[in-house]
C-alpha cells in the first residue's frame, strides 16, 4: 500500500465517505434528458406560434400600414418568440453537451439538429393547433404578454379602422349584399 493510498483510504474511512448510489446517477441523467426534451418541445411550441402569427397576417394590409414589404415583415415578426426560440435551442445544446457522449459531437451538428427538430415539431404543433392553448393561456394569465401583443397589433388596428365602411352603412346588410353578388 502506498503512502498516498493509505492517506486516501484513511480520509474515506474517517469521513465516512461512501459512493453515491446508482439510482442518484440514473435520476440525474433522467432529469438531464427530460430538461433537453422540454427545451426542444417548448422551442417547437414557439416555432408554431411564430408560424401562426405569420400565417394569419394580412400581408397587403401590413404593407400598407408599414409602407413596404420589408418594413411590413419586420413589423409583423414576433421578436419575443424568435428570441425565445434562440434561447431554447441554446439551452438544449448546452444540456446535451453535458450528457455522457454529447461532447463527442461537433457543436454545429448539435445546433443544426436542434433547429431542425424545433422546425419539424413546430410544424406539427401548428397543424394540430397544439400551440393555441399555450398562447391563449399566456394572454389570459400574463398581463405583460397581453400588453405586448396589443402594442404590436396597434398599427394594424389603425389600418383596419381606416378601411371601415362609411357611417350609417349596416355591415350586416352589406354582407348579405356581398354574398348575393355573382
Amino acid at each position: 500500500m502506498s503512502k498516498l493510498s493509505n492517506k486516501i483510504l484513511d480520509k474515506i474511512k474517517k469521513g465516512k465517505v461512501t459512493p453515491k448510489p446508482r439510482w442518484y446517477f440514473v435520476l440525474m441523467h433522467t432529469l438531464l434528458g427530460t430538461a433537453i426534451l422540454t427545451s426542444i418541445i417548448i422551442g417547437g411550441i414557439a416555432v408554431a406560434i411564430v408560424i401562426r402569427n405569420l400565417s394569419l397576417t394580412d400581408w397587403e394590409l401590413a404593407r400598407q400600414s408599414a409602407g413596404g414589404h420589408v418594413r411590413s415583415f419586420f413589423m409583423i415578426i414576433p421578436y419575443i418568440w424568435i428570441i425565445f426560440i434562440g434561447l431554447t435551442i441554446f439551452l438544449a445544446d448546452l444540456l446535451f453537451r453535458h450528457t455522457k457522449k454529447g461532447h463527442r459531437i461537433e457543436i454545429w451538428k448539435i445546433i443544426a439538429a436542434s433547429v431542425a427538430i424545433s422546425m419539424v415539431l413546430g410544424g406539427l404543433f401548428f397543424i394540430t393547433k397544439a400551440d393555441k392553448p399555450f398562447e391563449d393561456g399566456l394572454r389570459r394569465n400574463l398581463r405583460p404578454y397581453e400588453q405586448w401583443e396589443k402594442k404590436r397589433m396597434a398599427p394594424w388596428r389603425k389600418e383596419i379602422l381606416k378601411q371601415r365602411p362609411p357611417k350609417g352603412i349596416n355591415m350586416k346588410i352589406n354582407e348579405r349584399k356581398f354574398r348575393e353578388l355573382p
Binding site: 498516498l4 483510504l9 459512493p19
Partner: protein
C-alpha cells in the same frame, strides 16, 4: 496480488464498490500515471500534487457508480484529475509553479516529435534542446499545453483526449495543430531554430 494485476479496471471498480479497502488497488494502479500527468501539465510541487490526487481519488470513489464500462476508466480518471487540478489552481492562486519536469525518455519523445515543427540548430546539445523545449511548452496557453501533454507525453489517442477534455475529436485535431503552430512561434522567439 498477481490475480489483482490481471483484473481489468471495470473488475477493480466492482470490487471497490463491494469492499472499500479494495479501492486501494485502483489508487495503486493510477497513482503514478496521474501524478506524472499533473506534474507535466502544470508543474506543481510534490505536496500540491498529493493534495490534488487525494481530492481526485476521493471524487473518483464517490462517483464510482457513475462509471460507465463502455468508457475507458483511464479517460474517466484523467478527466476527474484534470478538473480537480484546475479547481485547485483556482482556489490556490498563489501556488508556486515549478519548471516543467520531464525525464530523459520524455525529452527524447519531445525532441523527436516537436523538432519536426522547427529546424533545430545542430550544434545545440540535446540536453539544452530538451530544457528549452520544456520551457517553450510551459509558455503555451493552458488549452494548447493540455492537448500536447496528453498526445505526446501521455500517449493518448484522439478519442481518449476527446473524452478527457470533453471536446469533439475534430476540435482535438484542430487544437493540436494550433498548439504546434503556437509552439513554433515560441520556439522561434527563443531561438530554438537555426
Amino acid at each position: 496480488m498477481k490475480d489483482l494485476k490481471e483484473k481489468s479496471d471495470s473488475q477493480l471498480v466492482t470490487l471497490a464498490l463491494k469492499n472499500q479497502d479494495s479501492f486501494e488497488h485502483l489508487v495503486n494502479r493510477y497513482e503514478k500515471k496521474l501524478s506524472r500527468y499533473v506534474r507535466r501539465l502544470y508543474g506543481l510541487s510534490s505536496e500540491c500534487i498529493e493534495d490534488v490526487l487525494q481530492e481526485a481519488f476521493i471524487k473518483i470513489y464517490v462517483n464510482l457508480n457513475d462509471y460507465d464500462p463502455s468508457y475507458s476508466f483511464s479517460s474517466w480518471a484523467y478527466r476527474i484529475t484534470h478538473n480537480e487540478t484546475v479547481n485547485y489552481l483556482r482556489k490556490n492562486k498563489k501556488v508556486t509553479i515549478v519548471p516543467l519536469e520531464t525525464d530523459d525518455e520524455e525529452s527524447a519523445n519531445l525532441i523527436d516529435i516537436l523538432k519536426s515543427e522547427i529546424d533545430v540548430a545542430k550544434e545545440v546539445s540535446r540536453k539544452d534542446i530538451a530544457e528549452r523545449i520544456r520551457k517553450a511548452i510551459s509558455m503555451l496557453p493552458d488549452k494548447y499545453r493540455e492537448v500536447l501533454v496528453l498526445r505526446y507525453m501521455e500517449d493518448m489517442d484522439y478519442k481518449e483526449i476527446s473524452d478527457i477534455l470533453r471536446m469533439p475529436m475534430g476540435t482535438v485535431a484542430t487544437t493540436i495543430n494550433r498548439a504546434k503552430e503556437k509552439f513554433k512561434q515560441i520556439a522561434e522567439k527563443m531561438h530554438l531554430n537555426s
